[in-house]
Amino acid sequence: MLAASSGPSPLWYATRATGVVALVLLTLTVAFGVAGTARYSSASLPRVVRSGLHRNISLLAVAFVAVHVVTTVLDPYAAIGLTSAVIPFSSPYRPFWLSLGTIAFDLLLAVVVTSLLRSRLSYRIWHGVHWLGYACWPVALWHGLGTGTDSKLSWLLLLDALCVLVVAAAVAVRLTLARPGARAVGLAATGMFMLATVVFVIIGPLQPGWSRRAGTPAAPASAAALRAKPDGSAIGVSRGTVRPPVRGQEARHGLS
């Protein structure tokens, strides 16, 4: 009962897990999509198979993102409402970094909806929105690094680095087909992005006090609710004295 009410709930673990898996699936989607623009084809991965995988994996990513959003909204600790899940900068909990996830979600929704309505839209509109969808990946990556309370875990950092390398490799292969000027600009932009990501991780989430700098409210909604319990039976309240909550409760929400 306690674990469900005040300790790390299964919802939080589901949020984190589905978020990570969604990022990996988005990485595969972007890699297959970039390979598509490069007209990549081989005997083991014909064009139609690559295109079908791109479509199916992107739909799977949408499903995982949907579960990620739903579990986040249902998890009562940070009180992130459904509005905050679709409207950027409307949540008091880590507003900027959470909004990156909101923006990525909105972009993903736009790509999915326009893809489903592709037969009714002009190619130019569909293609423009689809290109916007590629922005979803870096935004989602930074959302995970900035909001994720588990960004300090080495194996998760390794997974993020692997995702970055996969996309960078796909972009590099694609740029070999581009004109020399565009190739130089693209490679420089890719390198800058990778460098910026590494610098951000070092000076941001890996530093102590990142939670405060990221914008975590001093007393999240659930902590306030715990204090407000009149019987004092909940964690954090005992005979009128406010006690610190269970450490795991802080760490799970990144109060670091």
Binding site: P8, N56, R247
Partner: protein
Amino acid sequence: MREHLHSASLRRDERLARIRRLSLWITGGAAAASLGLGTAFAHALPGHSVATAATGASGTTRSASGSSAGAAPGASGTGRLATGGAKSSGHQHKHGLAKPKQQPVSTPAPPVVSSGGS
């Protein structure tokens, strides 16, 4: 001509089957990875064992327990809600339970309640 169409149809079916097979593998892998990651987070991040152990513990024990190897150093959120001697820090997160700064207040023994005999 008919053989050519038949061959193209077979190739198309084979490729669609490959897409389906690979998609199923990826879906299954993603679901398994999601479960595995959830379990990994439950063990790597502090709190899981705390909440489980705290279920049958007293309030004091609950507030004092919960150190874990993955705890974030320099936790600043703790101090915001802490009062008195119940503060905790990232240092304490790393090295287990913190010693209480105050001796527990001695309280008189609870009155002996007798049931009244017979």
